[in-house]
């Protein structure tokens, strides 16, 4: 038996949505396939569990629906378009009646106008000959040249006048500038000399005051140094004197010892009869 129902068929079998022959086939299949039958029992158990979910009781709230507005025939889009075209046509007719239309089709051109044709008559002029045209051109050129020369002369005069005025103005400015410069230099020199004098005087005063002070300090230093020199000299003299005295005493002691030795020698040489004690 090669029949094997798919998942969809099994679900249809579970919910009884198969026709009778198909139901029988699945039933026989499940009898021979206990594993599939067990799986289907599990599905049936899940279904029965779902039946324990309670239904919620609820009262429908009052919902009021507005009466839908039926679309007006006058608001119908097609009707509006047709009415619009008709109204435009009527307006055109009225305008034509009042102003008088003039519609022309000529040379591939459509012309619609109102209020009658406008007169466009131009004065007729006889055609000019070649010489007349050349004469007109020459006259025009001559007039043009004259106008240009007149204008050029006027411009030149204006420029010359402007140059002259500018030169005159510059001279005046230079003179004023030089005069003011000379005056300014005299005043500056006087000011400079006065400043120099003041500075010199101040420097001399500072110098003198500084030299006096320095001299005083030098003299004081010198006196101090001289007293130190005298003290030092005195100390050196004292040291020399004490050294000489020590030397003299030392020589004296040596001389006495030598004298004592000489006397002892003499006494030893002369014998034991005469015994003389020498005391110094």
């Amino acid at each position: 038996m090669n029949y094997k129902p798919d998942e969809a068929t099994l679900m249809a079998y579970l919910y009884g949505e198969l026709d009778a022959p198909e139901m029988e086939k699945v039933r026989v299949y499940l009898e021979h396939h206990p594993a599939q039958a067990a799986a289907l029992k599990d599905a049936q158990f899940a279904r029965s569990a779902l039946q324990h979910v309670r239904e919620q009781e609820v009262i429908a709230p009052p919902i009021i629906f507005d009466q839908p507005q039926r679309p007006s025939r006058w608001l119908n889009g097609t009707l509006k378009t047709v009415l619009g075209i008709a109204a435009s046509f009527v307006i055109m007719l009225v305008a034509a009646k009042l102003l008088g239309p003039d519609i022309k089709v000529a040379d591939g051109e459509l012309r619609i106008s109102f209020g009658g044709p406008v007169s466009q008559d131009l004065p007729k002029v006889a055609p000019l000959s070649r010489d007349e045209v050349q004469t007109l051109i020459k006259q025009s050129l001559a007039a043009n040249n004259e106008t240009l020369q007149t204008g050029w002369r006027a411009e030149q005069e204006k420029l010359q006048s402007l140059v002259r005025n500018t030169a005159k103005w510059n001279d005046e400015k230079m003179t004023k500038l030089l005069a003011s410069t000379g005056q300014a230099s005299t005043d500056q020199i006087e000011g400079f000399v006065a400043t120099l004098q003041k500075e010199n005087l101040k420097m001399m005063q500072d110098y003198l005051s500084l030299t006096t002070t320095d001299q005083k300090k030098y003299m004081e230093g010198l006196l101090v140094d001289f007293s130190k020199y005298l003290q030092e000299q005195r100390n050196q003299d004292l040291n020399a004197l004490s050294a000489r005295l020590a030397n003299l005493e030392k020589n004296n002691n040596q001389f006495r010892e030598e004298t004592g030795q000489i006397l002892a020698t003499i006494l030893t040489a002369s014998g034991p009869t005469t015994k003389k004690q020498v005391n110094y």
Binding site: A8, A12, R47, L50, H52, V53, R54, Q56
Partner: protein, 209 residues
Amino acid sequence: MAETLLQIAMMHSDSLIARAREGDPNAQGKLVQLWYKRIYNFGYKFFFDHDLAMEVAQKTFINMHRNIAALQETTRFRPWLYTIAVNCCREELRKRKANRAVPLDHYQPGVAEESYRWEASGHRHENPERVLRQTELSDLLQQCLLELPEEQREVVIMKEYEGLKFREIAETLNISENTAKSRMYYGLDALKKILEKKSITKETIGYEL
């Protein structure tokens, strides 16, 4: 009995649908009264959330009012209405994913909320302990349903709770009938695994083969 009458009324509302298509507000209002509970429950089982279910139901009937004139055949009203409901659910789901906001009562169901559900349950005269157990089981199973992928959940709810045939589900979701059946198959398979994970056995629900 009332449920049966309601279902009969829903099944035989062709003339009502025809009048609603012509713009009769009374007929549209009656359709809302007939179908509100079904659409609300569809939304509730899809989201397990009262507010979202109300939102979905409201939007579904507003869309019905706007578009019912375009409905070609009155016999296709049921899948057409569920198509609108599914689209509204998907829209709300997208919004929720974008917002990433979770209501507080998802974490701590309030006492007042439970009390309201108890009052509204219509089982006040039954054994309270039994009713509480049933409510808890219902919520637990609803949580299991919520764990299903969106596509499988739609099919399972339509088949198990709304009683649509696979052909109608396929028409509603604009898929083939075999695809609808396959989604159902894998939906039930996944549901069985979720039940096992939550230790919901045949004994728990008093299942008898």
